[in-house]
C-alpha cells in the first residue's frame, strides 16, 4: 500500500508544472525509485507502471458507486483493440468492463476547461428505453447545441465521427469553456442530478485538484483525478491513431514564411519516437517522449498562451482570445520590435544573424515617437511574435539538448492561430538549418481531456 501510494504521489507531482523545475520522468527512473523497489514490477517498467494510477482512479471512484456490481466490473483492466471483430464472448466481456454512460473526459486548465463527450450512436431501442432521463437530457443537450450558456462552445469541426470505443460506436464531441465558469458547470451538474448516474468524472489539469472539493460538496460528485501529462500523451497517441474522420491528424507547414506558397500538409506520424511535445496552454510544458510510457518533462516556461492573452488585454484592451488574434493578424510587429537591421543596418553577418531577426522584442517602444506611431494591432502582433519566438527558442534548445528532431506543438494557444504555427514552423526550420520539424495536430488543446476519457474507459 505504502509502496504504490508513494509512487503515486511521485507520479502526480510530475503533473502540474509549467514553470516547474524540469524533472526526470523516464519509466526507468520510476522503476528505480524507492517505492517501486519495494513493489517489484514484473515485466519491466514500461508494461506496468501505469497500474498504480488505475488503482488510484478506481479507489477514487469507489465511494461514488459503492459496492455495486458496476464498481466491481470497473476494476478490471480494459482493452480496446479488435472490439468490433471480436467473438461474442469478447463482446460480452467488453460490455462488462465498460463504465456506465455518460462518458466524459475533463481537462481543467488555467484558462480553459476542455470537455470531451462520447455520444453513443448505436443505442438500441431497448437501451434507449432503459436510459434514465437525466442521461438522455445530457446527451440531447450536448449534441443538439453548439454553444452552452454564453461561454461554452462545441468545436463542431473537430467532432470525430463513427468512433468505436469499448465496443460502442459513436461520435466524440469537443467542448470548451473558460475555467472561471467552472462553478456554473458544477452547479449544472448538481441541477441535472449527475450524481444519480453513478458516473465517474475523470478529470485532469490543475482544476481537477482545485475544484475537487466543490465537485464533492456542491455536485456530490467524486472526481477521479488524473495526471495531466499522462493524459496528454495518451490523448495524442490515441487521437493520432484514429485520424481525423479519414484525414490525417498531424500536419506541418511547407514554405511557412511564404504567404503564397505556404501549404498545410498532412504528416504521417508513423515513427512518433522520440518526440518533443510542446504543450502551450496558459503556460508551457515541454516533454520528451521516448515511448508510450517513457517520457520526461524537460522544462516549462511561464510565457505561454496566458501571457499572450494577458499582455494583449493590458496593451490593447481586447477582451477575448479571438479578438486578440484578430488584431494581431492586422498588425505589424516590426514597428514595435527592434530588428537586427535596425541596429546593424542589415544582417549581422559575423554571427549569422539575419537583418529581419528580432534583436529586442518591443525594443522600439522606448522611443516616444515610435510609441505614438504604433497601433493596438501592431502591439498585439508583437506580443504574439514575442511569445511565439520565445517558445520556439526554448523548444529548439530542448530538442538539441535531448537530441530529438520532431517537435509537436499542441495546446489551445495554437487554436485558430496560424500566425503562431507558421512562425514556429519557420523559426524551427531556419534556426536548426532544416534539422528540426515542427508538427501540429488538429485537436490542439483537447488531448488532456481525451486522455482522461481513455482512462475512464481503461484504454491503454
Amino acid at each position: 500500500m505504502g509502496g504504490w501510494l508513494g509512487r503515486q504521489r511521485w507520479l502526480l507531482r510530475m503533473g502540474a508544472g509549467w514553470l516547474a523545475a524540469p524533472m526526470e520522468r523516464h519509466g526507468r527512473a520510476a522503476a528505480t525509485s524507492a517505492s517501486s523497489a519495494r513493489e517489484p514490477v514484473p515485466g519491466g517498467p514500461d508494461g506496468r507502471r501505469r497500474e498504480p494510477l488505475r488503482r488510484r482512479a478506481n479507489s477514487a471512484s469507489a465511494p461514488a458507486v459503492g459496492a455495486s456490481a458496476e464498481g466491481v466490473r470497473r476494476d478490471r483492466p480494459g482493452s480496446y483493440s479488435g472490439a468490433t471483430s471480436a467473438s461474442r464472448q469478447r463482446v460480452e466481456s467488453l460490455k462488462k468492463k465498460r463504465p456506465l454512460f455518460p462518458w466524459f473526459g475533463l481537462d481543467i486548465g488555467g484558462t480553459l476547461v476542455k470537455l470531451v463527450y462520447f455520444e453513443p450512436k448505436d443505442i438500441t431501442a431497448e437501451e434507449e428505453e432503459e436510459e434514465v432521463e437525466s442521461l438522455k437530457s445530457i446527451r440531447k443537450y450536448l449534441t443538439s447545441n453548439v454553444a452552452y450558456g454564453s461561454t461554452g462552445i462545441r468545436d463542431v469541426h473537430l467532432e470525430l465521427k463513427d468512433l468505436t470505443l469499448c465496443g460502442r460506436k459513436g461520435n466524440l464531441h469537443f467542448i470548451r469553456f473558460p475555467t472561471h465558469d467552472m462553478p456554473a458547470f458544477i452547479q449544472m451538474g448538481r441541477d441535472k442530478n449527475f450524481s444519480s448516474l453513478h458516473t465517474v468524472f475523470c478529470a485532469t489539469g490543475g482544476g481537477a485538484y482545485k475544484f475537487e472539493q466543490d465537485f464533492l460538496t456542491i455536485g456530490d460528485l467524486q472526481l477521479c483525478k488524473l495526471d495531466e501529462l499522462d493524459c496528454l500523451i495518451k490523448g495524442i497517441l490515441y487521437i493520432d491513431s484514429v485520424g481525423f474522420n479519414g484525414r490525417s491528424q498531424c500536419y506541418y507547414f511547407e514554405n511557412p514564411a511564404d504567404c503564397e506558397k505556404c501549404q498545410k500538409l498532412p504528416f504521417d506520424l508513423k515513427n512518433p519516437y522520440p518526440l518533443l511535445l510542446v504543450n502551450i496552454g496558459s503556460g508551457v510544458s515541454i516533454l520528451a517522449v521516448y515511448s508510450k510510457d517513457n517520457y520526461k518533462r524537460v522544462t516549462g516556461t511561464s510565457l505561454g498562451g496566458g501571457t499572450f492573452f494577458g499582455l494583449c488585454c493590458l496593451l490593447t484592451g481586447c477582451t477575448t482570445f479571438e479578438e486578440a488574434l484578430e488584431m494581431a493578424s492586422r498588425g505589424d510587429s516590426t514597428k514595435v520590435d527592434k530588428l537586427v537591421r535596425d541596429i546593424y543596418g542589415g544582417d549581422y553577418e559575423r554571427f549569422g544573424l539575419p537583418g529581419w531577426a528580432v534583436a529586442s522584442s518591443f525594443g522600439n517602444m522606448m522611443s516616444k515617437e515610435k510609441r505614438e506611431a504604433v497601433s493596438k494591432e501592431d502591439l498585439a502582433r508583437a506580443t504574439l511574435i514575442t511569445i511565439t519566438n520565445n517558445i520556439g527558442s526554448i523548444a529548439r534548445m530542448c530538442a538539441l539538448n535531448e537530441n530529438i528532431n520532431q517537435v509537436v506543438f499542441v495546446g489551445n494557444f495554437l487554436r485558430i492561430n496560424t500566425i503562431a504555427m507558421r512562425l514556429l514552423a519557420y523559426a524551427l526550420d531556419y534556426w536548426s538549418k532544416g534539422q528540426l520539424k515542427a508538427l501540429f495536430s488538429e485537436h490542439e488543446g483537447y488531448f488532456g481531456a481525451v486522455g482522461a476519457l481513455l482512462e475512464l474507459l481503461k484504454i491503454p
Partner: protein, 742 residues
C-alpha cells in the same frame, strides 16, 4: 561629480546636454598624454577608453662608487637614493551617460595634446549613430569594431587581470556579493549580455524601482491559482509562476503599475535564466557571466537572474556577475585597436586610487540618487612591468585564496581594520611629508592623499564589496596606490636606507656569534633571529611607536620582545628534525622588511641554508611598500654582505643564491600573481622549500595557503587585536612548518 545642468529631467535620451561642467582632473585624467582611444556607445551609456602614460616619481637606490678607499665611514649611508621620474602605462576607462557625450568630446578635444592618434575604435549600437559627431569633434577616424568580439575580448581581459572580478549574488546574506577567485583557466564560459538599446537610464531605473515595490502574484497566474492552494503532494511550490500575466487576461480588473512591473521583471529574468541554462547545458558549461544594461549592478535583476539560473539548472550552473561588466565593450575595442602593442602580453592591475568602486545599488535607493552617483564612473588599470603568473608550487591554483580573512564577510574584523587604518592615517601623512623634505608641495599633496584615502575608507565602510573582497591586503594596497597617486612613491626610503646601514654594520658580529654556537643552538638562534628581525615593521603601530620613541631599539631588544617558546604556533621541533635530514634542494624565501629583518634575520638564515648545500632564491618586492625591502635594495644589501662574507660572496658568484623580484608592490603576497621570471627560476631550480616571512605575507595572506612542497610561515604578531583573535598576545610568534601530505 558633474551634474546635468540645463535640460529638464525625463528628457529624451537623444537630446544632448551641452551645458555641463566637468571636473576635468577627476574624470578624464592624464588626457594630455593620451594616445589611442576607443569608445563603446550603448543605448544609454558611453564608455571611453584611452591609453595614457603616467609620470611617476620613483625612488631609485644606487650603490656608491666604491673605488675610493674611505667607504666605511660611520656616518655614511650604505647607498644613495635619488628620486627619478618614471613613465608607466595606464589604461583609463570612463563611463558616462550618452547625454554628456558631446560635452565630453569637446572636453577631450580641448585637452588632447597628442596628435599621433588618428583613429578611434568604436563599438556598441550607438557607434553608428554618433559616428559623425565623433569624427567631427575629435578629428579622428571612427573604426567600427564588432560588438560581440569586443565584449569577449573585454571579458577575457578583466577575468585575467582583475582577481576579484566575478561575484555571485546571494540574496539575504551579508554581504550579498560573494567574489570568486578567478580560476587559473578562465575558459570555457558563457557570457550573457542583456543590453539592447535601453536609451534612458533614469526611466529604466525608475521601472526597476517600481518593480521592487510590486507584487507579481496579482498579475501572474501561479501554480496554486490553477491547482488550488499549495499542494505539498505535487512537489511543486504553489508560488511558482504557471503563466506570466495570466491573471491580466480580464477586462474587469485594474492592475497597479508596480505589480505589472514586477511581473515583467520576473518574466524577463526567468526567461533569460532559462535560455542561458539551456545554452550552458548544450555546451556543457557551468559558469555563466551576466552583463549588460539590464544588470548594471542592480540587486533586483541580479537576484531574479540568480534565482532563475538556480531553479532551471537545479544548482548546476552558477550565475556570475562582473564588477566591470559595463566596460567590457570599451576594453575589448581598445584591445582590438592596440593589437600591434600586444597588450595581452602584459599583466595589468586595477588601480584602486583611480577607480570608482562598485557603486551601492540597494533597491531602496531612489533612482535619482543612483543616477547621480553613477553619472561618471572610472576604471584605471596600470600596466605592470612584468607578466604575472601562479607560483608553480601552489597545491591547487584554482582553490588558492591569498587572503586569510574576508573582511566583507567578517563585520567585526572589518570594523577593526577600517578604524585601524583610519587611525594610522595621520602617521602615514606625516611620514609622507617627512620623506620629501625638499619638496614645496609635499604637505599639500599629502593632504590630498589623506583626503583620498579617507574617502576610500568611508566608501568601504558602506560598501565593503566596492573593490572586490575587502581584505587587509586590499586596504594596504589601496593606501599604496593613493600614495603613488600623489607622488609619494616611497615614504620609507630614508628610513630603510638608515636601517639598512645600521644593520649592515652589525652583520659580521651577528654571524660570528651564530658561528660560535653548536649546530642545534644555532638553528634555534637563526629562527629567533628571523623572528626578531620581523619585529622591525613600520607598518605595525605597536612597533612604529617603539621605533619612533626609542632610536636605540635594536636587534637584541627585539629578541627580548619575542614570546618565549612554546610559541603561539610552534612546529619548531618538527623543523629541527627536518634539518637533521638531507638538505633541501632549493629554498624560495619571501623577505619582508628592510634593515634588521633582511640583513640580520634573513641573510644569516640564507647563509646557513647555503652552507647545507641548499640553493636559495630570495624574492623581494618589485616596488616599494612601507619599509619592505625592495628588489633593488636587496641587490645592494647582498652586494655589501658579499663583500664581508665569503659564503654569500661565492653563492652569489656561483648563482646558488639568486635575487629575484616578486612583481608586486604590496606588503602582502598573492602567490597567484608573481613575476614570471620568479616562476621560471622556481621551476628550473626545483624549489622544495618555501619560506614566507612577516605578518603581511604569512598571516594576513597565505596563512592557509597549501603548497605542494615544504613550507615555513613565520611571523611576529605585532597587532594586539589580531594576536587576541589568534588566541595570543602582542609579539606572539607564529612558526608554522608544513609538509604536504603524501
Amino acid at each position: 561629480m558633474a551634474e546635468c545642468g540645463a535640460s529638464g529631467s525625463g528628457s529624451s535620451g537623444d537630446s544632448l546636454d551641452k551645458s555641463i561642467t566637468l571636473p576635468p582632473d577627476e574624470i578624464f585624467r592624464n588626457l594630455e598624454n593620451a594616445k589611442r582611444f576607443a569608445i563603446d556607445i550603448g543605448g544609454s551609456l558611453t564608455k571611453l577608453a584611452y591609453y595614457s602614460t603616467v609620470q611617476h616619481k620613483v625612488a631609485k637606490v644606487r650603490s656608491f662608487d666604491h673605488s675610493g678607499k674611505d667607504t666605511e665611514q660611520d656616518h655614511e649611508p650604505p647607498y644613495e637614493i635619488s628620486v627619478q621620474e618614471e613613465v608607466t602605462a595606464r589604461l583609463h576607462f570612463v563611463k558616462f551617460e550618452n547625454t554628456y557625450i558631446e560635452a565630453c568630446l569637446d572636453f577631450i578635444k580641448d585637452h588632447l595634446v597628442n596628435t599621433e592618434t588618428k583613429v578611434i575604435q568604436a563599438t556598441g549600437g550607438g557607434a553608428y549613430k554618433f559616428k559623425d559627431l565623433i569624427e567631427e569633434k575629435l578629428q579622428l577616424k571612427v573604426d567600427k569594431e564588432d560588438v560581440m568580439t569586443c565584449l569577449i575580448k573585454g571579458c577575457n581581459f578583466v577575468l585575467k587581470n582583475i582577481p576579484h572580478e566575478a561575484f555571485v549574488y546571494q540574496k539575504d546574506s551579508d554581504p550579498e556579493f560573494r567574489f570568486q577567485t578567478n580560476h587559473p583557466n578562465i575558459f570555457p564560459y558563457l557570457l550573457v549580455n542583456i543590453g539592447s538599446g535601453v536609451s534612458i537610464v533614469k526611466k529604466f531605473d525608475e521601472l526597476l524601482h517600481l518593480a521592487s515595490r510590486g507584487q507579481h502574484t496579482n498579475v501572474d497566474m501561479l501554480v496554486q491559482d490553477i491547482y488550488g492552494g499549495a499542494h505539498e503532494t505535487l512537489g511543486l511550490s504553489g508560488n511558482l509562476i504557471a503563466s506570466s500575466f495570466g491573471k491580466s487576461a480580464t477586462a474587469d480588473q485594474e492592475f497597479s503599475k508596480e505589480d505589472m512591473a514586477k511581473s515583467l521583471l520576473h518574466m524577463i529574468s526567468n526567461d533569460i535564466g532559462q535560455l542561458a541554462c539551456l545554452y550552458a547545458r548544450l555546451h556543457c558549461l557551468d559558469r555563466v557571466y551576466f552583463g549588460g544594461f539590464f544588470i548594471r549592478g542592480h540587486p533586483v535583476t541580479m537576484r531574479t537572474i540568480t534565482y532563475s539560473i538556480n531553479f532551471f539548472s537545479k544548482g548546476e550552473v552558477q550565475a556570475l556577475f562582473l564588477r566591470h561588466e559595463g566596460y567590457l565593450g570599451a576594453i575589448g575595442a581598445f584591445l582590438k585597436g592596440a593589437e600591434q602593442d600586444n597588450p595581452n602580453q602584459y599583466s595589468w592591475g586595477e588601480n584602486y586610487a583611480g577607480s570608482s568602486g562598485l557603486m551601492s545599488s540597494s533597491p531602496e535607493l531612489c533612482p535619482t540618487q543612483r543616477a547621480r552617483s553613477g553619472t561618471f564612473d572610472l576604471l584605471e588599470m596600470d600596466r605592470l612591468e612584468r607578466p604575472l603568473v601562479n607560483l608553480p608550487l601552489l597545491l591547487d591554483p584554482s582553490s588558492y585564496v591569498p587572503d586569510t580573512v574576508d573582511l566583507t564577510d567578517d563585520a567585526l574584523a572589518r570594523k577593526y581594520w577600517l578604524t585601524c587604518f583610519e587611525e594610522a592615517l595621520d602617521g602615514v601623512v606625516k611620514r609622507a611629508v617627512a620623506s620629501q623634505p625638499g619638496s614645496v608641495d609635499a604637505a599639500e599633496r599629502a593632504e590630498k592623499f589623506r583626503q583620498k584615502y579617507w574617502n576610500k575608507l568611508q566608501t568601504l565602510r558602506h560598501q565593503p564589496f566596492a573593490y572586490g573582497t575587502l581584505t587587509v591586503r586590499s586596504l594596504l594596497d589601496t593606501r599604496e596606490h593613493c600614495l603613488n597617486e600623489f607622488n609619494f612613491p616611497d615614504p620609507y626610503s630614508k628610513v630603510k636606507q638608515k636601517d639598512n646601514g645600521v644593520a649592515l654594520k652589525c652583520f659580521q658580529r651577528v654571524v660570528s656569534a651564530l658561528d660560535a654556537l653548536d649546530w642545534e643552538e644555532r638553528q634555534l638562534a637563526l629562527v629567533k633571529g628571523l623572528l626578531a628581525g620581523n619585529v622591525f615593521d613600520w607598518g605595525a603601530k605597536a612597533v612604529s611607536d617603539v621605533l619612533e620613541s626609542d632610536p636605540q631599539f635594536g636587534f637584541e631588544e627585539a629578541k627580548k620582545k619575542l614570546q618565549e617558546r612554546p610559541w603561539l604556533v610552534d612546529s619548531y621541533g618538527k623543523w629541527l628534525q627536518r634539518l637533521k635530514g638531507p638538505p633541501h634542494k632549493c629554498a624560495l624565501i619571501f623577505a619582508d622588511n628592510s634593515g634588521v629583518d633582511v640583513i640580520l634575520g634573513v641573510f644569516p638564515f640564507v647563509r646557513e641554508l647555503l652552507s647545507r648545500g641548499t640553493e636559495v632564491i630570495l624574492a623581494c618586492n618589485s616596488g616599494p611598500a612601507l619599509n619592505d625591502v625592495t628588489y633593488s635594495e636587496s641587490l645592494i644589501v647582498a652586494e655589501r654582505i658579499a663583500a664581508m662574507d665569503p659564503v654569500i660572496h661565492s653563492a652569489l658568484r656561483e648563482e646558488r643564491l639568486l635575487l629575484v623580484q616578486t612583481g608586486s608592490s604590496s606588503p602582502c603576497l598573492d602567490l597567484s600573481r608573481l613575476d614570471k621570471g620568479l616562476a621560471v627560476l622556481v621551476r628550473e631550480h626545483g624549489a622544495d622549500l618555501v619560506v614566507i616571512e612577516g605578518m603581511g605575507r604569512a598571516v594576513h595572506t597565505n596563512y592557509h595557503a597549501a603548497l605542494c612542497c615544504e613550507s615555513l610561515k613565520l611571523a611576529v604578531i605585532k597587532n594586539s587585536w589580531l594576536a587576541e583573535r589568534l588566541g595570543g598576545q602582542l609579539f606572539s610568534v607564529i612558526f608554522k612548518y608544513e609538509v604536504p601530505a603524501e
